[in-house]
């Protein structure tokens, strides 16, 4: 059988399908049949290309040509011209901006793609357990350059100029942090990698550590050189066994190559790294709590100052940075501050990795330049909302963040804009919600998490959040009165203002932000005892439609709590007091006689 020579790839993403991509695919398949080229040309549907506004998109292989905004009537022209005669159809070709560098796996399209991978540059490309793969892709060159050509001050200057800010969520300028730690005099300093990723729905740091552990090790060594530390500690939760395993392998290989240890690259610089395990407490992502946990103490925060830069691990100056922050650093050193500062917005430079999850078609790990809009992230890269439901909100910043809504869809994403919109960057979890999600229940979900994770040291957080949670429970169960909503808001502000650490200071954010954006839903829960999303079970009623019910008794026999009564061949009735809203009756009914009110 002859090998296939030409591939016609037609985008099968939701948005392209809506623009007749199926018809286009069919046209191409018909043309192949008519011309009798079945053995040489193949037309196939693919996943989303991620530039939906140019759709429908058609890609031709092997010469890697893109056609955009293709209409079914264009298919013959592309087929006759490109496939048969070998002449492209410039009219439909996807614009090729004049960039000298050919970027990406198969990209020839300059900056038309929404994603740029810097922190994830090696993720999915190299074998993370083979250091040679990393070295082949410029691995440890940044460390080499820094040790041989640059002073610590000059290196810090590069970072400051690049505009890199902490990717753990706070957004503190990384170069400045290093400078502060450097300025402190001490006999021993430490650099720490914060790998205590704990937001529900976030997996950015895990992916970096599992896919490219050396980039973090290299950056920690650079940090050590700049701040004057010869010891590094990675604080990672024991719940990440594969990341730990790959880090250990990476550290072993780096030592064998002499890139960790004494006299690195013959420069006299000594640096080594050890791992400390966390037990998976959310509060240990806060740097003072993290340091206490590393010291073997309870993972509780302390008041700052003193900042870890002055007095941290074992009382010594300690520089704590997040995994993703580290992963950016070798690329910045190699490619220069100006290159990095050229990406992003005025005050937020570079890219951000997001874990895109929730009610979205393309759940995934993405890295986008700062300044991209939520609309681009959700409706292009994310491929839109699942099952064609309506977008309602997106939670960024996890339990410390807030909800962004329809009105924020075109806001450029950066540290400052997200705060202005009532949320925050956070570490990069992005949970998309649709019309079936109740915003009060969402706020309750996040609060339940913080109540669980509160360390208990300060009372606003320990007691306040518990009370806040109880109030929300009242709202979702339909027992709340209007005054409760004022109490909810007031208590939220008290907790924010008086808690000791970041966990407590941010824990009421989901409540405040959902109240700001969806107050009408709170009012409906309290006033009308209604949940418009139909997700608060206590506010739902299963009702039997007497006209449709034939009295088959199937529902009554399947009710686990005997809440359904009625004579055989007579309409049945559900006792709302007994009903636990499990839905078993509705599932079993063959006559559509049961509905939800």
């Amino acid at each position: 059988m002859a090998k296939i020579k030409y591939h016609i790839l037609v985008c099968g993403g939701t948005s392209c399908q809506a623009a007749k991509s199926e018809e286009i695919l069919q046209k191409f398949q018909d043309l192949i049949k008519i011309k009798g080229l079945d053995n040489e040309v193949q037309a196939i549907r693919t996943g989303c290309f991620g530039f939906c506004e140019q759709g429908p998109v058609v890609q031709l292989l092997p010469d890697n040509t893109f056609y955009s905004r293709v209409k079914p009537e264009d298919c013959a022209e592309i087929f006759e011209g490109h496939v048969i005669k070998g002449t492209k159809v410039p009219r439909l070709q996807f614009p090729v901006p004049a960039t000298g560098e050919l970027q990406g796996g198969s990209s020839q399209k300059g900056h038309t793609r929404k994603q740029i991978r810097i922190a994830l540059r090696n993720c999915g490309f190299i074998n993370p357990e083979n250091m040679d793969d990393y070295i082949a892709r410029d691995g440890y060159q940044a460390l080499g350059k820094v040790l041989t050509e640059l002073s610590p001050e000059a290196t810090i200057e590069i970072l400051k100029k690049s505009g890199l800010r902490g990717r753990g969520g706070g957004g503190f300028p990384t170069g400045l942090k290093w400078e502060i730690t450097r300025a402190v005099t001490a006999d021993q300093k430490y650099v720490v990698c914060n790998a205590d990723e704990g937001d529900p729905g976030a997996f950015m740091d895990r992916s970096v550590l599992e896919g490219d552990p050396h980039s973090v090790l290299e950056a920690m060594a650079i940090n050590g050189y700049c701040t004057g530390a010869d010891k590094g500690v990675i604080y990672i939760r024991a719940e990440y066994p594969l990341a730990v395993e790959r880090l250990k392998i990476a550290m072993k290989q780096a030592r064998e190559y002499g890139l960790l240890g004494v006299d690195i690259l013959g420069t006299g610089f000594n640096f080594d790294i050890e791992i400390r395990y966390g037990a998976g407490a959310f509060v240990c992502g806060e740097e003072t709590a993290l340091i206490h946990s590393m010291e073997g103490l309870r993972g509780e925060p302390t008041v700052k100052p003193p900042f870890p830069s002055e007095s941290g691990f074992l009382g010594k100056p300690t520089n704590v940075n997040n995994v993703e922050t580290y992963a950016n650093i070798p690329a910045i050193i190699n490619k220069g501050a100006d290159w990095f500062a050229g990406i992003g917005t005025e005050k937020s430079k570079g890219t951000k990795v997001f874990a895109l999850a929730g009610k979205i078609n393309n759940v995934g790990l993405i890295e986008v330049p700062m300044g991209i809009t939520l609309r681009e992230v959700i409706f292009e890269i994310g491929g839109g909302i699942k099952n064609d439901r309506k977008f309602k909100a997106v939670q960024t910043g996890g339990p410390s963040g807030g909800m962004l809504t329809e009105k924020d869809l075109d806001t450029p994403i950066d540290y400052d804009n997200l705060i202005a919109a009532g949320s925050m960057m956070g570490s990069g979890g992005m949970i998309v919600m649709d019309e079936d999600d109740c915003m009060v229940a969402m706020a309750k979900f996040y609060l339940e998490f913080t109540v669980e994770e509160s360390c208990g040291k300060c009372s606003p957080c320990r007691i306040g959040n518990k009370r806040l949670f109880e109030m929300l429970e009242k709202v979702t169960q339909g027992h709340a009165v209007m005054e409760d909503l004022d109490k909810l808001r007031n208590l939220s502000h008290v907790i924010k203002d008086t808690s000791l650490c970041g966990l407590g200071q941010t824990s009421p954010n989901p409540v405040l932000s959902s109240m700001a954006n969806f107050y009408h839903e709170y009012l409906e829960h309290v006033g009308d005892k209604k949940c418009r999303a139909g997700s608060c079970k206590s506010l739902m009623q299963y009702i039997i439609h007497a006209e449709n019910c034939i009295g088959c008794t199937l529902c009554a026999r399947n009710c686990p709590v005997d809440a359904i009564s009625g004579e055989r061949k007579q309409a049945h009735f559900i006792d709302q007091e007994k009903c636990i809203k499990c839905g078993a009756c509705m599932e079993k009914c063959k006559f559509n006689a049961i509905f939800i009110k």
């Binding site: 080499g144 990341a243 490619k335």
Partner: protein
């Protein structure tokens, strides 16, 4: 493993490694070997990537096909795990999603042996700062 004693040593090692991969996996070099990368982060493994990788290794050995199969980290397409990227000599890399054990065999039959694509192709939707 020999210690790398200087930046010059490191650069030399990189050159040697690149020359080696150039021979093996250069897309433009049609004499190069077939390259298969399996995304094996926790999530990939949880959805069956390890078994899929074994199928590729076993089938290639059984059918005497010369290929390099390696694991890699997260490719980012969580919704389509397990994901596998295949580079045939002289071709652009193609990423396949939803690759279970059955589909792995199908990919070998159709794509590796006959250059015929199968459903579930994920177009590359990002740029990276390095050449692939």
């Amino acid at each position: 493993m020999e210690k790398i004693k200087s930046l010059a040593d490191l650069k030399k090692l990189q050159e040697n490694l690149l020359a080696k991969t150039e021979l093996q996996g250069n897309a433009a070099n049609s004499d190069s070997r077939i390259r298969v990368r399996v995304a094996m982060a926790t999530c990939g493994i949880a959805s069956g990537a390890r078994e899929v990788m074994e199928v590729f290794i076993e089938e290639f050995t059984k059918r005497n096909i010369d290929a390099v199969v390696s694991q890699t980290g997260c490719m980012g397409y969580c919704y389509a795990e397990p994901t596998v990227e295949i580079t045939l000599p002289g071709n652009e890399p193609i990423t396949f999603g939803f690759v279970d054990v059955k589909k792995a065999s199908k990919i070998i039959d159709k794509y590796v042996l006959n250059n015929e694509l199968v459903d579930g192709i994920i177009p590359v939707n990002y740029e990276t700062i390095y050449h692939n």
